[in-house]
């Protein structure tokens, strides 16, 4: 008990997690655990200023302010017992409750609500309070009770011969147990929402709407977007109510960063549905939120969700394009790409040659989404290889046949061989994608070309041609490669063999 009193004092002086407090309650738990190994229970009786065990005083403190005994006694607690099996967690919870100093704290209530498995306590009602109870008055009335009984039996059509057998069959017992388990696990919030919605289905009552709005906040705080959507769906039926307006602020929206990064996928998906109710006012904050996004797929989904909000009026995104923050710009551009409106290109025009490669990359992605190959082709001369590659990949995907001869001439130019292999390969891919039948002839020519000088340097062109032919992969083309593999020219035969192997 002395150790317990010291632990309480330490918790009152420091925070419960403070090392000084731990120095008191850790040994307390150890002592109790050792005792409870050999004894089923430790029981304490509480008096006004004294705590005793088996009639022996183990704690005395007459100072009301500091006496644990007095604090427990004042709350009606007369007996506390710790039972074998007491866990450290339970003891800490118990200490936390009894260490509270405020006079308004109801320790008994908190102990009850603590729902301890291995701590029992006995509480009495305030004995100084007068509870008046008397036997209810009884006056014999002039009533024919037998007639009344017959009347009830007749009215209710009660058959007195019907046996009442209240025993539960095993399957009934199981059904009931399942229902109980379900009821114990179900949170009150969805049930209450169903109730309130059911009420509103019969009558529009402002107080009920206000309660739902409060619950909506609770749901958002708890990241329970499923139930939040149920509320929003219902309240959206009233044109004079905008249930989500309250949440369209920067601090709240940026506060959802946990949802986009660490929440369960299901929660995230529900969040996506929830933000579809937002107005365009939320767009800048949602874009700001995206800058905290760490997961690529979720970021994509979020962009699509914002695009949905902004689709009717993409100009809402225009102001964001003035921002200096690269992340904000990239996300805004991506959203514009998802919207694919007529204004998108106009809005992006000033950023087409932005100095930051990430911006240009994102613009190419948008242009690809919008099938703007002509504009993409301009990036083939970009200073950065990564951008040129991205442009080539986009043109490959879009099948922009007009570019074919331009590509061919670029490939045949002397400078082509100065490029990195990755970019060269993308050129060939793009050529194949946009070339039609004619491309096989060109590739064949490049594969078997007679070269007198700088043969080694040209071997890269043979490899690329062979690989592209293998990619086309028709029987005729594979025959070409097979024949090439038999050529005496080692450069040609090895390029063809390699391409065939990869096939």
């Amino acid at each position: 008990m002395k150790s317990l009193a010291k632990a309480v004092k330490a918790i009152q002086m420091y925070h419960i997690n403070h090392p000084s407090a731990r120095n008191f309650y850790n040994p307390l738990y150890e002592k109790m655990a050792i005792y409870l190994k050999d004894h089923p229970v430790i029981e304490y009786q509480i008096d006004q200023f004294m705590i005793s065990n088996r009639g022996k005083a183990v704690y005395k403190e007459d100072e009301k302010e500091t006496s644990i005994a007095f604090r427990l006694f004042r709350n009606g607690i007369r007996n506390i017992s710790f039972i074998s099996g007491l866990s450290f967690h339970e003891l800490i919870k118990f200490l936390r409750i009894i260490s509270k100093i405020s006079k308004d704290e109801d320790i008994a209530l908190e102990l009850w609500e603590g729902d301890f498995e291995h701590i029992n306590f006995y509480v009495v009602e305030e004995e100084d309070e007068i509870i008046d109870y008397k036997v209810p008055d009884f006056t014999k009335m002039d009533i024919d009770y037998d007639a009344k009984l017959r009347e009830i039996i007749a009215r209710e059509n009660i058959d007195l011969n019907v046996p009442i057998k209240p025993d539960l069959a095993p399957e009934e017992l199981q059904t009931l147990k399942n229902q109980i388990a379900e009821a114990e696990q179900t949170s009150a919030i969805p049930v209450a929402i169903t109730t309130l919605i059911s009420y509103l289905n019969t009558e529009k009552v402002h107080e009920i709407i206000d309660i739902l709005k409060e619950l909506l906040e609770l749901c958002i705080d708890n990241r329970n977007f499923y139930d939040a959507i149920r509320i929003v769906n219902k309240l959206s039926e009233y044109p004079d109510i905008n249930p989500v307006a309250k949440f369209e602020t920067e601090p709240i929206i940026v506060g959802f960063k946990d949802v986009i990064n660490t929440a369960h996928q299901e929660t995230f998906n529900e969040f996506m549905n929830f933000i579809s109710f937002f107005s365009k006012k939320s767009i800048p904050y949602l874009v700001r939120l995206m800058t905290f996004g760490k997961l690529k797929e979720r970021l994509q989904d979020l962009r699509k969700a914002v695009a949905y909000v902004a689709q009717d009026d993409p100009t809402a995104l225009a102001t964001l394009l003035q921002e200096q923050d690269i992340d904000v710009l990239v996300n805004t551009i991506a959203i514009l790409g998802s919207i694919k409106s007529n204004e998108t290109i106009t809005l992006l025009e000033p950023l087409m040659n932005h100095h930051n490669a990430a911006i240009r990359m994102e613009i190419i992605a948008v242009l690809t989404e919008m099938d703007k190959a002509v504009r993409i082709a301009k990036y083939l001369d970009d200073d950065e290889e990564i951008i040129r590659i991205k442009a080539l990949q986009s043109l490959t995907r879009l099948k922009y046949t007009v570019i074919y001869y331009d590509l061919l001439s670029r490939i045949k130019s002397k400078t082509f061989r100065n490029l990195d292999f990755a970019e060269q390969r993308e050129y060939f891919n793009c050529l194949v994608a946009n070339g039609g039948h004619e491309v096989i002839t060109q590739l064949r020519k490049m594969l078997f070309k007679w070269v007198f000088f700088k043969r080694k340097r040209y071997s890269v062109m043979r490899k690329l041609s062979a690989m592209s032919l293998a990619d086309i992969g028709t029987g005729h083309v594979l025959d070409i490669l097979r024949r090439g593999a038999k050529r005496r020219n080692k450069n040609i035969s090895s390029a063809c063999e390699m391409a065939l192997r990869k096939k």
């Binding site: 089923p40 039972i83 074998s84 099996g85 109801d106 209530l109 009850w112 609500e113 729902d115 498995e117 291995h118 006995y122 509480v123 009495v124 009602e125 509870i131 008046d132 109870y133 036997v135 209810p136 009884f138 014999k140 009335m141 009770y145 009344k148 009984l149 009830i152 039996i153 209710e156 009660i158 007195l160 019907v162 009442i164 209240p166 539960l168 017992l173 009931l176 147990k177 229902q179 109980i180 379900e182 009821a183 114990e184 179900t186 009150a188 049930v191 209450a192 169903t194 109730t195 309130l196 059911s198 009420y199 289905n201 019969t202 009552v205 107080e207 009920i208 309660i211 409060e214 619950l215």
Partner: protein, 453 residues
């Protein structure tokens, strides 16, 4: 593991062993295994406790001073052991360390015998590690059951809190939320000690204070039913609060309507029905939006929804009331039927109220919960006045678990109509006396409340 769980496990193992020795030879593997299991468990417990003791008092079984509640789970084994202890006249059974399998098997085999044979067959020299204490005519009430005064105090304090809560809501005064939260735990504690103590007090009907008494009684009945089906303490706290608050919407109605002594007109009925709707707002005022508040508002709204989808307020018939609402539906109807009111001076006798509910199970009431409710109250609930086949008039003072039609009664009038003092009969104990029918106590000028307070 809690003491309660230890107790129910030992009861289940003893049940298995006694059943096994009734069917098989003592050397049979089934008997040997059952004995091995219980001895192992007892030895484990005897490492923690110096002795393991089962005590039977009236219709209770205590394991190391902790009352084992009749819950739907383990009901059969507890009822069987309780009945065996009762018919064999055993007050307590103590198991001591060093108990072994052979002693356990031979002792269990005595359970097949009749009371006299058992008494003759048992001797402390034969059973050194199993001590039996036999019941006497006037067994002393165990200390832990001398709770009558405390329970009464708890009940009337709860009534006061309920009254204050409703009156303050009525008059738009601040509400003492802490007191109403606290009283629920007091009620749960009282029920855990002695569920029939509080149920007895719900049987005392007060015509003057119907609204408050009814609210509290529904809360207590719901708690008792919830406890019987094995709800956790946390859920019980929510259910109890919700039970007390189920009719709170009535504070939003004109007082004249609530206290009207004549039958209500159709318009007035329609208005009264609105209390389910109004309950939501009043509960938010009283409790806020914590878990209990949210559950309570749902129950206030659904407590007139029937099991078959009918009832009010109008709702989608496919939407079922939640479990707690179905509990409160039963308790509310029972208390309403059995309580006198201005326009129902002669209420339904509890037995007939239960018959109505039995008839309406599956229609108005959840059939499984109705069964458990009847198990809990018995066919003649506490406070019922009965005419016996020997001409005596008796008052039901206690239920007999497993014998729902054979309660423990106090004889009030003899066959000549003369008052009888201090005569209590357990109708399940071969008394040969049978119940003819339940009757109105008022017919004989009996005020049941005087016997319970």
């Amino acid at each position: 593991m809690s003491i309660h769980k230890f107790g129910t496990d030992i009861i289940a193992l003893l049940y298995a062993l006694v059943k096994a020795v009734q069917v098989y030879d003592l050397n049979n593997a089934v008997v040997q295994t059952a004995a091995k299991k219980i001895v192992y468990s007892l030895k484990t417990l005897l490492n923690i406790y110096s002795r393991v003791q089962l005590v039977r008092y009236m219709d209770y079984v205590f394991f190391n001073k902790q009352r084992l509640r009749f819950e739907i789970d383990g009901y059969a084994s507890l009822q069987f052991i309780h009945d065996k202890l009762k018919t064999l006249g055993i007050k307590s059974l103590s198991f001591l360390p060093e108990i072994d399998k052979e002693e356990m098997i031979i002792f269990a085999s005595l359970f097949k015998k009749k009371k006299e044979e058992f008494t003759n067959g048992y001797s402390s020299s034969r059973f050194k590690r199993i001590l039996v204490e036999f019941s006497t005519e006037e067994d002393e009430v165990p200390d832990f059951l001398r709770e009558g005064e405390r329970i009464k105090r708890t009940y009337f304090k709860a009534l006061k809190v309920t009254r204050n809560l409703m009156q303050n809501l009525w008059m738009n005064q601040p509400i003492d939320v802490k007191s109403s939260r606290r009283i629920i735990y007091n009620l749960i504690d009282s029920l855990t000690q002695d569920e029939f103590g509080l149920l007895t007090l719900t049987a005392i009907k007060n015509l003057d204070d119907y609204t408050y008494n009814h609210s509290l009684n529904v809360g207590i009945l719901a708690l008792a039913l919830g406890q019987r089906i094995g709800l956790s303490k946390k859920s019980l706290a929510k259910l109890g609060s919700a039970g007390i608050l189920h009719d709170i919407g009535k504070v939003a109605l004109p007082r004249e309507l609530i206290y009207k002594s004549e039958r209500l007109t159709n318009e007035e009925w329609e208005l009264l029905k609105k209390h389910s709707d109004y309950g939501i707002k009043e509960i938010v005022k009283a409790r806020g939006l914590d878990e209990t508040g949210l559950i309570s508002m749902t129950i206030a709204y659904q407590h007139h929804w029937n099991y078959n989808g009918s009832g009010y307020p109008i709702h989608n018939k496919n939407e079922s009331p939640i479990l707690f609402s179905r509990i409160v539906r039963i308790c509310d109807s029972y208390d309403a039927m059995t309580t006198p009111r201005m326009y129902q001076v002669v209420p339904y006798l509890p037995h007939f109220a239960l018959r109505v509910m039995w008839k309406l199970r599956n229609v108005w009431f959840d059939p499984l919960l109705t069964k458990v409710f009847i198990q809990l109250l018995g066919l003649y609930p506490i406070g019922s006045c009965l005419e016996l086949d020997n001409g005596e008039i008796a008052l039901v003072i206690r239920q007999n678990q497993g014998y729902s039609d054979q309660p423990i009664v106090k004889i009030i009038l003899d066959k000549d109509g003369k008052k009888v003092a201090d005569k209590v009969i357990d109708l399940s104990m071969n008394s040969g006396i049978k119940v003819i029918k339940p009757i109105y106590a008022q017919k004989y000028g009996i005020n049941p409340a005087t016997y319970f307070m």
